[in-house]
């Protein structure tokens, strides 16, 4: 019970506009981890499949455990061969850097958006730690 309350407090906290960790783009990537440490690929796997991260709305991948996969975007299988960790990090943070017209949301951005819902205003879609976990997982997707 106490654990539940702590968990729901942790959820309730980030309602104010979140401060984003500053990052530096080098070439077509972000070479340095947003958290300063490497992400956890196992957590990243679970995150990519979770509804709340929205990846599976558009993407498919080597995930036989779920039927709910999209086909608006490339299959994620082999993403770790095609892209470096630095490129994957920038792709998640702000895919529009690669293609200004892309439909892929910028996952680490909290401004310049229109009519954001009350519960989401001022917040990035993913936290820095979640980005790092997902990047670590995508890097393992090698054919």
């Amino acid at each position: 019970m106490a654990a539940l309350i702590v968990a729901s407090l942790a959820f309730a906290l980030p309602t104010q506009a979140d401060e984003l960790v500053p990052y530096t783009i080098v070439g077509d990537g972000i070479p340095v981890s947003l958290t300063g440490s490497p992400g956890d690929a196992t957590r990243g796997h679970a995150l990519v499949l979770a509804r709340t991260t929205t990846c599976m709305l558009c993407h498919s991948g080597p995930f036989p455990e779920t039927r709910f996969q999209g086909d608006l975007a490339p299959d994620l299988a082999g993403a770790g061969n095609r892209w470096s960790v630095s490129q994957l990090r920038l792709r998640l943070v702000d895919a529009s850097r690669f293609n200004p017209e892309t439909i892929m949301p910028s996952y680490y951005r909290n401004d310049g958006l229109v009519r954001v819902g009350r519960n989401f205003a001022g917040k990035p879609i993913l936290s820095a730690a979640e980005i790092e976990d997902i990047v670590a997982f995508l890097a393992t997707l090698r054919d």
Partner: protein
């Protein structure tokens, strides 16, 4: 030959409807019905299996019921709906001279209640409002959509078009990204249609009830994590009007069934 082609092309350019890049040409427009499986189609096609028909029957009762301090029924002014209401829903939202703006069918029903029946307006998504609009809409079944043809509506159609094209919400997606550019594809496994407004109010299996077009638009907006417009707001009316003009020529299906 070449000259003839050039002339034909010039005529096409001059008289063709003002389709913008990415918009669906009239011969490629497809109702959500065309994207459904055989079971859901069968449910819509058979009036005894279509749950929306219960609302139509309830609406027919309300049509005949005297209400308000005027003690008048819809039928007292409009007579038999099979004649007087045929084709009406296919031209809504329509321009209201007194208000100088378009009103939806739901808003028209409530204007009749307040102005002519001296009754209170019905809340959006209430059973009675859905029933009346399903009953009126049903009289237009198979009638091709012509909403938006009235030139006075021009600026409002344009406003709706701009809203349709504008990215919004935390996911930063516009209606056009899904319903013009990606219909026939799958969002998390579920088919994306052209977002045609042909069947409203309609029975959605996911909702387990009848719902309005505005309810649908609000759920698309929440889906991209945008702040949904209020029911009856000018923006939702403009979007609804643009959707109807974008569906020009498609037959009405009220009450449709959707997954």
């Amino acid at each position: 030959m070449i000259a003839w082609r050039a002339i034909a092309a010039a005529i096409l350019l001059a008289t063709g409807p003002a389709l913008l890049a990415g918009e669906i040409p009239s011969d490629a427009r497809r109702s959500g019905y065309a994207f459904m499986g055989p079971d859901t189609r069968a449910m819509q096609d058979d009036d005894t299996a279509n749950p929306g028909m219960l609302f139509v029957l309830h609406g027919e009762q309300l049509w005949k019921k005297k209400i308000g301090s005027a003690d008048r029924a819809c039928a007292d002014c409009h007579g038999d709906a099979r004649g007087s209401m045929k084709g009406v829903a296919a031209r809504y939202p329509a321009f209201d001279k007194a208000l100088a703006r378009p009103v939806t069918l739901d808003q028209r029903i409530n204007l009749c209640r307040t102005n002519h029946q001296q009754a209170t307006p019905l809340p959006y998504e209430s059973r009675d409002l859905l029933a009346l609009s399903a009953f009126v809409g049903h009289q237009s079944r198979s009638v091709p959509i012509t909403a938006g043809d009235d030139p006075q509506l021009g600026p409002f159609v344009e406003q709706g078009r701009e809203l349709f094209m504008e990215r919004e919400g935390q996911l930063n997606l516009a209606c056009t990204n899904c319903h013009d550019d990606n219909f026939d594809k799958r969002l998390a496994g579920a088919p994306i249609t052209q977002g045609q407004p042909t069947g409203y109010p309609l029975y959605r299996l996911e909702w387990q009830t009848l719902g309005s077009l505005e309810r649908r638009l609000r759920s698309c907006m929440s889906g991209v994590r945008a702040q949904a417009y209020d029911y009856g707001s000018p923006e939702l009316v403009a979007l609804e009007l643009y959707l109807m003009s974008r569906a020009r020529g498609l037959p009405m299906e009220t009450p449709a069934v959707r997954p």
